[in-house]
């Protein structure tokens, strides 16, 4: 594979012996890259110094998705070095040299695959050229292996010994990538680069930040929809360890020297709140769902054919309503963030999925230039979308600017669960029409969401396979703050769609797998409207999961099927339920995933299994109540998280097709609720229409 020269620009560095190469996205920025100051830094992603030290820089925030390991694997593969010899470093926010330095949308590998390969392959080629010059041979007669260039007559030179000369080489006009059959690292099981730090308890998370003169703070936030009227902090300030109590933006911050002292003092704080409108409760939300379902102001998201006519002519009509509550992200590490606002410079540090927007938002908040704000990235104790919001970073910056001290704002679990940016609550209503032959002729979906935006994904399968489709959404504004939650919208919509199609298959008298395959064949031969998925890849994961799960070939085992396309990846699942002591128990889930090239098999399995457990746990147990703007429960004693004794066996398989990699942090979650609910139905004839199931 070749790539053209115009994708590269060459930039001279301040150090004469060092060249840096940037990718085309740097071109517009013009200025020399800051990293050019580092001898041996060949490009944003890697440095090789003359002692042979190879450092790979991983730019994206690590949240547990394994990107800090997967990105360097790609670079190391194309650079052709021994994985054991490389050191991987987390890059801080660096808008000059990196692009899309964020964690969200399962998009990192899809975006960066080519860039990472280029970063490695280009330097490999420069090493070969440097060696060829030294040996006075043509570089095409040289090869590389494990960090060495090998010459035609048995010459051998390490990358380290060539680094200084290689840095002077003109950036190659074309680079050659490895053939995937020659991969030594990609596709193998690579251990997480931070495993040793984790198992020995090294301070790598935001909550572990300690800076000179740093103080701690906790913030009391108002109920959703309420305004802080007054507060009494006299009894708080008297408490030991308390430095200050300040208020900003409806919040009261207690600043102190230690976490426990702040927690104690906080109990003495009294706040009174007012609100213009009645504060929201579960009942409010139910009434809004009812109204949204009747509303004549729905936005049409997709329209194929004439749904109204087709449904009136259908031999059979199936209808169902599905509903999910607000749920919390509940990462194990509660929100926290560090800020040190000084005249002329701001340091932000902590767990955020989106460091650049944090920089921008803080710049706006404080009225300071973006380039005076440094953002250090820490490892994140999970996030699941919660750390996309940056409310915690803004609070920390604002508080630091008020108290003029470096501060770590800590959220308790109650703060975290009670003050979330929740998965929006949504109600869906589906209708499908079937003709006399059991073919689906009409399909309708209305989603009514609370702060959900478009709560549908209008182009989702089976759209494209049915002549008459109408998809509508209604968004109801709520004071309850919401945000993306792992696989936004589809984390519940996936369940609803896949459970509904199961009902339709039953009504049509068809096997649920065959029904999907028939519909996908229809998409291939005679597609209706816009198609966003590839029917062949869709069908392949379905066929493979049917085979691997021995679909309908296991006596005494009740199976449920689902399949979902999201974040450009395809996941098919078969869940198995056995009835033990009269209770259905999910015993096994088989998943087949097509995410293109699997970079790190170990990490990929982790993502699939983790997403299935996440999807299953939240589908079965998670529910938040809202009463007068206040959330309950707010801790794990009543907000039930799935535990290790509740998880089924999971087999995760991947389609081996060598297509460029796509997302994997989220795609295995959306189909999970459906496969499990459909299996429980197979066992008990009871369908679930609401999450949580129990």
């Amino acid at each position: 594979m070749k790539t053209s020269r115009r994708n590269f620009i060459q930039q001279t560095a301040l150090f004469t012996s060092v060249f840096t190469l940037g990718f085309d996205w740097f071109e517009s920025k013009g200025a020399a890259m800051a990293i050019a100051n580092e001898p041996g830094r060949f490009n944003a992603f890697l440095s090789i110094d003359s002692t042979g030290k190879i450092r790979l820089y991983s730019p994206n925030p690590e949240i547990g998705q394994g990107i800090k390991t997967a990105f360097p694997v790609v670079v190391a593969e194309e650079l052709d070095v021994d994985w054991k010899q490389v050191e991987v470093l987390q890059a801080n926010l660096d808008t000059q040299n990196f692009e899309r330095q964020l964690t969200g949308g399962s998009g990192a590998l899809k975006h960066s695959w080519e860039r990472l390969r280029k970063a490695g392959a280009t330097v490999r080629q420069m090493m070969m050229q440097a060696a060829a010059n030294q040996w006075k041979v043509d570089s095409s007669t040289c090869k590389t292996s494990q960090g060495f260039v090998l010459g035609p007559s048995g010459q051998k030179a390490s990358y380290g010994s060539l680094a200084t000369e290689a840095a002077k080489i003109t950036v190659p006009s074309t680079v050659t990538y490895k053939d995937r059959k020659d991969y030594k690292i990609i596709g193998t099981r690579v251990r997480g680069v931070d495993n040793r730090a984790i198992v020995t308890g090294k301070p790598v998370f935001g909550i572990d930040i300690r800076k000179p003169d740093m103080v701690f703070a906790q913030i009391v936030r108002p109920p959703f929809g309420a305004t802080l009227k007054s507060f009494s902090a006299d009894d708080v300030k008297k408490m030991p360890g308390i430095i200050d109590v300040v208020s900003f933006k409806n919040k009261v911050a207690i600043v102190g020297t230690s976490t426990y002292e702040i927690m104690q003092a906080r109990q003495n704080l009294t706040c009174s709140y007012v609100s213009d409108a009645p504060l929201e409760s579960n009942e409010t939300h139910q009434a809004w769902f009812d109204a949204g379902m009747k509303s004549d102001k729905a936005i049409v998201q997709r329209k194929d054919g004439d749904f109204a006519k087709a449904i009136s002519e259908a031999a059979k009509v199936i209808e169902a309503t599905y509903e999910c509550p607000f749920i919390s992200h509940s990462p194990m590490e509660p929100m926290n963030f560090f800020a040190d606002v000084k005249p002329g410079s701001v340091l932000l540090a902590g767990p955020t999925q989106v460091p650049q927007p944090a920089q921008k938002a803080v710049a706006t908040l404080l009225g300071v230039p973006e380039n005076t704000i440094q953002v250090e990235l820490t490892k994140m104790g999970g996030g699941f979308g919660r750390r996309l919001s940056n409310d915690f970073a803004l609070e920390a910056a604002e508080l630091s600017s008020i108290i003029k001290k470096p501060v770590l704002v800590m959220w308790t679990r109650e703060d975290d669960m009670g003050g979330g940016t929740y998965r929006p609550a949504v109600r869906y209503h589906f209708k499908a029409g079937i003709d006399a032959n059991g073919n689906i002729t009409a399909f309708y979906l209305r989603g009514v969401g609370l702060n959900a935006g478009n709560s549908t994904r209008q182009d989702n399968f089976p759209a494209g396979a049915i002549d008459h489709v109408l998809i509508e959404s209604v968004d109801q504004k709520s004071a309850v703050t919401t945000g993306p939650w792992r696989a936004p919208i589809t984390n519940f919509l996936g369940f609803a769609e896949q459970a509904f199609i199961d009902e339709v298959a039953e009504a049509a008298g068809k096997d649920p797998i065959q029904l999907r395959l028939d519909l996908l064949a229809r998409v291939k031969s005679n597609p209706v409207g816009k198609i966003t998925y590839e029917p062949d890849r869709f069908a392949e994961v379905i066929r493979q999961v049917a085979e691997k799960s021995q679909w309908k070939k296991k006596p005494g085992v009740h199976q449920g099927f689902s399949v979902y396309y999201s974040h450009f990846s395809y996941v098919a699942q078969v869940a198995e339920v056995q009835v033990k002591n009269g209770k259905p128990q999910v015993t096994h889930v088989t998943a087949v995933t097509d995410c293109g090239e699997v970079i790190n098999l170990s990490g990929a399995e982790n993502q699939v299994k983790g997403a299935i457990i996440d999807g299953m746990g939240h589908a079965m147990f998670a529910k938040l109540n809202i009463q007068a703007g206040v959330t309950s429960p707010t801790n794990f004693n009543a907000y039930r998280m799935i535990r290790g004794n509740e998880v089924p066996k999971i087999d995760a398989y991947f389609v081996d097709n060598g297509i460029s990699p796509t997302g994997l942090g989220e795609p295995a979650l959306p189909p999970t609720g459906g496969s499990i609910a459909n299996a429980i139905y197979a066992a008990t004839k009871k369908r679930f229409y609401k999450q949580p199931f129990y």
């Binding site: 997480g192 495993n195 230690s258 194990m332 104790g381 983790g610 457990i613 801790n635 794990f636 535990r643």
Partner: protein, 153 residues
């Protein structure tokens, strides 16, 4: 009034409120940050440490109740960080985000100390008190079994 604790075989004197939970004493006053805060109400296990070799939830254990007991944290589990459980955790690539793993490891190591040859069900039951939001449960269970094999050798 100063309280003297024995943490990872070292005496540490702390002049703090004796009601302070051990978790916050470790994190905010001793500077041992490996033990994690998850829930504060002994539900998730992220803060698990050993007190005289017994796994305890440090978030609800006031330092006044610890007395002269030996406290072991993740940092002190093995001087070289090569406890069989730590080795197994790395080998099977258990961590995803990694935040709960110190607590998981302290629970697992205590389990194996008491029961060096646990059955599969004993491992599942023994680890059920620790929440992992990333869902690393299968590998946690496999790693405990692997660590048990390593101990046997």
């Amino acid at each position: 009034m100063a309280i003297t604790l024995t943490i990872n075989r070292k005496k540490v004197s702390l002049d703090i409120d004796s009601n302070t939970p051990l978790l916050w004493a470790l994190r905010d006053h001793v500077g041992l940050l490996g033990t994690k805060f998850g829930c504060g109400i002994a539900q998730c296990g992220a803060c698990t440490v050993w007190v005289n070799g017994e796994p305890m939830r440090s978030c609800v254990l006031p330092i006044s109740a610890v007395g002269n007991a030996q406290i072991t944290t993740i940092e002190g589990l093995d001087p070289a960080g090569k406890h069989p459980v730590q080795e197994a955790w790395d080998e099977l690539d258990v961590p995803q985000c990694g935040y709960c793993q110190a607590g998981q490891i302290m629970t697992a190591a205590a389990l194996l100390k008491k029961n060096p040859h646990p059955s599969k069900q004993e491992i599942v039951d023994g680890m059920a008190g620790n929440i992992c939001r990333c869902g690393t449960y299968h590998r946690i269970q496999e790693a405990v079994a692997l660590a048990a094999k390593k101990v046997k050798k």
